[in-house]
Symmetry: C2
Subunit: 399 residues, 2 copies
């Protein structure tokens, strides 16, 4: 009798977004026609940039003609796309070669797949609150998990100290989902030094880097000296260029990253050539447009709109004097719940009283209790109205 992967039995049921949907659906059924302000799920709403649409359309047209038709793509990515991404990093002062860059179907896919490089007897440091898939992917792989707590005392950007468990893998997401907090250069340097000291490897989730506006906040772990010997960076065009439903990402594994004489870049090449036949030609052409000058300009215009959304919310919270994290360098705002309310109670309160949907912080681990996450990806009109309603409700509650 075949033995299944019994680690699945250790997964907790994942009902966060399912429960949110159930509650919202029930509310809508009881209040027909009532407008709901959805700022729960972190999904983008603005259309793709025009130059990306053009590139995708042209690539589709290429597939219609014999002379331009493309079959199998190189497993690690189209050379032009690997080159333009490396050049994009070079432009930020990070030296990469095209061979350091792997094109992927997206960050969520890579965050799971990359565990294939490591022995499953190992351990992972996960800083919570966290994207739930970090924990679940590690449970499926049978890895031990060390939880490191993000909280108000460390501004949701914990750094290692003498009590930090020596984990083999260290997940860092900056700008952070769900808290919107960012890790400073100094905080990242501490993790890089820790990783190099102990031979650990950092998995740096840079999915939200395009939202950074403070010049001092690193966009890439490779801006930190020493990171090339201890880090893998996993990136996505989902939030950068609105690719949540289009799918494309990239992963950076510097050639210098070695452990026990093995080069992780070589191993990942071998993994990809075994386990994939590359990413769609059509999507990679769209990705090329994202990194063109016109593409960068257009996507930053969309990000500007999401940032204005953030400002509607943070202005309201600032005026109220409510504590929150994020919203400046990140598309998420992590708001402290009203006194005496848990995160799920706050969720119910906002839904029932002002028809605003957030995500309870507890859904990102116990460290998220006491907070509620707002995404800034809804329409400007809805976000503005939601901000007004939050302001009014919390003002009434104080008064």
């Amino acid at each position: 009798m075949i033995k299944l992967n019994e680690n699945y039995g250790n997964l907790k049921d994942s009902y966060l977004f399912f429960n949110i949907k159930q509650k919202v659906d029930k509310y809508v059924a009881g209040h027909p026609g009532m407008k709901i302000y959805r700022m729960g799920i972190g999904d983008v709403t603005l259309p793709l940039a025009w130059c990306v649409i053009d590139a995708l359309s042209n690539a589709v047209a290429d597939q219609a003609q014999k002379g331009t038709f493309h079959g199998y793509m190189p497993e690690c990515g189209m050379p032009e796309l690997r080159e333009i991404i490396a050049a994009f990093y070079n432009g930020r002062g990070v030296e990469l070669t095209p061979g350091d860059v792997f094109v992927s179907s997206g960050a969520s896919d890579e965050l799971g797949d990359i565990l294939d490089l490591f022995d499953s007897s190992g351990s992972s440091i996960i800083m919570e609150p966290a994207y739930p898939a970090y924990v679940d992917a590690n449970i499926i792989a049978g890895r031990r998990i060390f939880h490191v707590t993000g909280n108000e005392a460390n501004g949701f950007a914990p750094v290692p100290d003498n009590d930090t468990p020596v984990g083999d893998l260290i997940y860092i997401c900056s700008p952070n989902n769900p808290t919107g907090a960012v890790f400073s250069k100094d905080a990242l340097r501490k993790w890089v030094d820790f990783a190099n000291l102990h031979g650990s490897i950092i998995l740096f989730d840079a999915a939200y880097e395009a939202f950074i506006e403070s010049p001092s906040v690193p966009h890439s772990i490779f801006e930190i000296e020493g990171a090339r010997t201890c880090a893998i960076e996993i990136c996505s065009l989902s939030k950068t260029a609105g690719f949540t439903g289009t799918r494309l990402g990239y992963t950076v594994i510097p050639g210098e990253l070695k452990r026990g004489g093995l080069c992780l870049n070589d191993m990942w090449v071998r993994n990809r050539t075994t386990k994939t036949n590359g990413v769609s030609y059509v999507l990679q052409k769209g990705g090329l447009a994202v990194f063109s000058d016109e593409g960068r300009r257009e996507i930053m215009e969309n990000i500007r709109i999401y940032k204005q959304n953030a400002r509607y919310l943070t202005d309201a919270l600032d005026r109220l004097g409510v504590t929150y994290y994020g919203g400046r360098n990140a598309p998420y705002i992590f708001m402290k719940c009203p006194e005496g309310y848990t995160s799920w109670e706050s969720f119910d309160l906002l839904l029932n009283e002002i028809q605003v949907v957030g995500t309870p912080g507890q859904g990102f681990g116990d460290a998220g209790e006491g907070f509620i996450r707002f995404s800034t990806f809804a329409s400007p009109e809805d976000t503005k109205e939601a901000a007004l309603r939050i302001f009014d409700l919390l003002t009434r509650m104080k008064g």
Copy 2:
């Protein structure tokens, strides 16, 4: 110090297509302007069907407008696509529900990823000659491999007997890559009975099912009674609809497939929701068109052209009286090498004498030695000329 996945050290260097390319490049450099007939790599060459192009174009246009823009897709696939695939199976007399069907980025991705469901202490039966990624993915996962030999005695479609090792996973590819052999209903029934008896699970690679023309040859393992409790089917649109560079596939895991009380369909849902954010909206819309009536008609027209290519080659081999497998229900022809030639020697002979590129059978495992594979995906003109040249060369060698 982190411990890497040491199984990578057990992989053999994979130089098959690299070596072929080196040899061809060297020949071309030495013979400038000489026309080469490339029938080595199994990559399609005909453009996508028009209705698929239309669907892809419309989906790209959807991503350009706010009202039609699509963000995150359901992780297991667009409901309409899961439905139309289930209906496609139903039309062939195989009962499936949409929930049994998972949309994927392609068969190669799934063949690797699916191992996540099984304990890595297990074993896999791989029938050789075989697609090299079967072996490599199992080595990376640390699984034990039992090689079962396909050969002329069993028509490259081995069935279990008393000496067959009881493997936990059983890979079956029919129509087969590289041999082009097909497993009869009776042969598949023997494997299904074997799997149900021992609690094993069959991974059925149906990537070439669209090439089956003999009415008695099963397109799906689920045409066999008892398969729903012992099989997973992994399919691809790569060869069916020319999607090698466009990327889309699907995987069927019947709800009845359980081991030790665990339902593999539930586990795969959990895996996908953890490790992916779904497949591109654009590509899934293309997939929907493939399964439309018009799509089926158009893709069968392309397959008809590839089948004519197969006929050019098999006619030549039939007239020569050369032994070969495949070519009728499969896009591959596995030709016996000329007397006294190994598969690499045959490769060199064909390249140097008649500028025809095949794939040495030895590249698919030692069981492939003595054969050379021709793909039927080149242009009709090139294939016709290659068939003539093979006929002339082998006639000269006999004479």
